[in-house]
Symmetry: C2
DNA sequence: CTATTTCGTCAACCACGTTGACTACCTTAC
DNA sequence: GTAAGGTAGTCAACGTGGTTGACGAAATAG
């Protein structure tokens, strides 16, 4: 493969990280689809996670995810449409529209966590538990600068 | 951060991989912009790389990147518009339109490789060269299935 | 010479992001 | 109590990156 050209070692690392991420994410969603959540898309897990048990609002969500409130609102729309989130009025502030995870959303979230645990175990089986931990430690050290920003336009569109 | 919740260790790994990738890619493009390539988007580097020194066609490119020929064609359009790729007729086959990297494209590619080397060196400075190598080895082992596919819809859209 | 395949493109569509403008509402200050 | 200002949510237009389906032109197979 061109990008794995040994003459350009610098290209290895980003591609490996991307491929590793993709492998995990693809496996997760294949399993999630098998377990009754075929509509759940890769971004959705992060969004559900960010909404959390206490609920939130579109603006807050946008801030948490590093995207605009409009983009967050649209994503909520989609997740509401497939039944993973619901909106409710905030009695204490008529401007706000509370966003909450539905039972179905909670189920998807729970299964995601379980599946990720199993996938991590598979990595541990292949590499050894210590190396997976070391990998996580090292990545944690290096990645701490850009933490948990999902605003895709940084690398893709927009 | 919610997704880094220690109670859900399974969420660590994918997020770390994503964050690591993002950090690298963001740093690359910040530096690339500084060096005279502000139009270069994260995907573009992979595409230029896939076009290669010998040139290719939209269909071939699509196959290499794991996307449709139409998507590949559109991406080529954009890269032609900003001067990184050019099209030429294939004298031996009137259906084909050769896609080639321009000198400007080659410059961007060369700089990308250099910058990635420097970024990798930074990782090596922080973690130690042996751990970076180990990280690459382990990721290579785990990620070997999904190599260099850019079809975002798998995780994002459509 | 005809049938099939392949290459490139067009058109419609979807997911995901952006900015700008606007309404409705809460809050603060006078 | 009202005017002013900030905040929440939505609408509209747009850009990027993907998808499928349809189609003409050119190469290839029979």
């Amino acid at each position: 493969m061109a990008t794995a050209d040994p003459a350009r070692p610098g290209f290895h690392l980003p591609l490996l990280l991307l491929a590793g991420f993709r492998t995990l994410i693809d496996d997760l969603h294949a399993e999630l689809a098998r377990e009754g959540h075929p509509e759940l898309r890769p971004l959705h897990g992060f969004v559900l996670q960010a909404v959390g048990a206490d609920g939130t609002t579109a603006s807050e969500l946008g801030q948490k995810l590093g995207i605009s409130k409009q983009a967050a609102g649209k994503t909520v729309d989609r997740l509401v449409a497939v039944g993973y989130l619901e909106r409710a009025d905030d009695p204490s502030d008529a401007r706000r529209r509370l966003v909450r995870v539905t039972p179905r959303g909670a189920d998807g979230l729970r299964r995601s966590a379980e599946i990720f645990d199993r996938l991590r175990a598979r990595w541990a089986d292949t590499l050894g538990p210590d190396r997976v931990t070391a990998l996580e430690d090292d990545l944690g050290t290096m990645a701490s600068a850009n933490w948990f920003r999902l605003d895709m336009p940084g690398w893709f569109g927009g």
